[in-house]
């Protein structure tokens, strides 16, 4: 078996192990709590905690009468949410990168604007997500665009900070080396600073990817139209007493959407950056 195949197999087994452990814990909790008659912290009855196999089966039932299976509908919703997040992610990444480059070239720009860039994090950005979408609707922006703007906002800060840190990471002697070659600032940027910054930028991108997904879901909440994950989560939450499995299944799919996005970025990172250069996390 090749090394790559072995790694995939090992990953597959780990995933299976995790699922099995989770099912055991869940069902075990239900069994023991029911037997002992305990109710805290969560009631073990089938309404509140449906059996894991019921949740799994719900994926393959039709979502509505004579409709396509639940899993299809939810995956489509996830894809829609992800698309919105991804566009914003790209924009935010570009802006963040640009800011990093600007700040490394101009100390004045850094002094003037960096405190802002940092302060932007103290405003709970995701907190304005619903407001941005409602506002977008009021000024006739398509909903997907508002959601993308949220993702962009969530992305630009970590990328800017990490780009700056990465651009400054080369040892002073490397800068002296470039100066000894009479390099132009542009050459120093693209031949030394940017390649050195890549591991840092990818770390930020992974964080931003996860944040963009949450931002997209939350942004979809108040408007609640369209077929995105946010609306579905709210809807199944309201239908909880009738069909609790649906909510759990939908949350599961939302989780997988986040993992898929971050996984994509991680895969790119593994391709472009050798293992000896990757930063922890």
């Amino acid at each position: 078996m090749g090394g790559a195949n072995r790694r995939v197999a090992r990953a597959g087994i780990s995933i299976l192990a995790v699922v099995v452990v989770f099912v055991l814990l869940w069902e075990g909790y239900k069994l023991i709590w029911t037997a002992m008659g305990w109710e805290n912290p969560v009631r073990p009855d089938d309404r509140t905690m449906p059996h894991t196999w019921d949740i799994f089966l719900a994926l393959f039932q039709p979502a509505q009468r004579n409709g396509p299976p639940f899993i299809f509908v939810e995956l489509r919703a996830a894809l829609m949410t992800l698309r919105e997040a991804f566009v914003g992610f790209l924009i935010g990444g570009a802006v963040g990168f640009g800011l990093g480059v600007l700040f490394v070239r101009s100390t004045m720009a850094e002094r003037a604007f960096m405190p802002y860039v940092v302060a932007s994090q103290t405003v709970p950005i995701i907190a304005i997500a619903p407001m941005v979408v409602v506002w977008g609707g009021r000024v006739n922006l398509p909903q997907w665009l508002s959601v993308s703007l949220i993702a962009a906002y969530l992305t630009f800060f970590p990328v800017a900070i990490n780009t700056l840190r990465g651009l400054r990471s080369p040892h002073p002697t490397s800068m002296e080396l470039m100066r000894s070659y009479a390099s132009t600032p542009r050459e120093v940027l693209w031949k030394l600073q940017v390649p050195a910054a890549m591991p840092y930028i990818f770390t930020a991108l992974k964080v931003s990817a996860a944040a963009s997904v949450i931002g997209a879901i939350v942004g979809e909440l108040p408007a609640g139209l369209r077929g995105g994950l946010g609306r579905d989560l709210l809807q199944f939450s309201q239908q909880f007493t009738a069909a609790p499995e649906k909510l759990f299944a939908a949350v599961l799919i939302a989780g997988l959407a986040g993992i898929a996005f971050v996984g994509l970025i991680t895969a790119l990172e593994h391709r472009w950056i050798g293992s000896h250069r990757r930063l922890a996390g």
């Binding site: 619903p130 002697t173 949450i214 939302a254 989780g255 993992i259 996984g263």
Partner: protein, 294 residues
Amino acid sequence: MTERDDLNRDDSIWETSATDVFASFEGDIPASGRRLSPGRLVRRYLPAVIAFFSVILVWEGLTRLFGVESFVLSKPSEILISFSETFGLIWGAGMRTLFEAAGGFVIGTSLAVATSLAAAHWIGFRQGVLPLAIVLNATPIAALAPIFNNWFGLTNPFSKMAVVAVVVYFPVMINTTRGLLEVDPAELELMRSMAASPSEVTRRIRIPRALPYFFSSLKVASVLSLIAAIIAEYFGGPQDVLGQYIVNRAQLFQFPDAWAAILVASILGVAFYLLILAAERWLMPWHVSFRTNE
């Protein structure tokens, strides 16, 4: 003269502090204090302060000039007015949300520290739990909010605390575990030579070494906890919490009110962060000189 010559005359990209340059290659650091005089402090932050007030003024000016509707872009003056008029209401809501955030923060951090200590101690546990935590950290954890709302009740603050706890748990656990595991082999050898027990090693070496990582994750967690509480509230909650207030005002297009509430959220977030910062300085006074990258 080529373009290259001109560009090379611009020495600004090579500028570093003169003493650092000398120290870096002579290996001989001349003794000099690195205190920031009040003059230099002002000079460093002045551009940002000026930029801030300019932005506010321009914002106010342009919105007045073009008669921009408040639903398109609220004027700073409108936000301030709303802030002062609804202060009692939004501050009260803020306190309730802060309660949820703080509660979740405490629960999540405690669980994280317990798990980290276990992970540092038992390799098997660590190899199972750490990768799982990294993967789960990529999920939109706030999506659990509707589940918790149904389990614990929409108006029960605990349903929001649970979301906060899960959100806070992962970064704190991952970072603290890393900190506990980062050990200098030389220090371990030293402890061994003094026949120190494993718990002594943990107490005297691993924990102090882990503190910087722990605190940096706490700072992240403090900011996250307030945000997580508000997001959890967006999925449903009592009327008198910040999240619900913001969503309600936004849906009615009363944006200045929503912004005022967000202002409260920011103030509380900064306060929480500063609290952690103060705790860090108090508990780790020796570390202040290390934090050059903050």
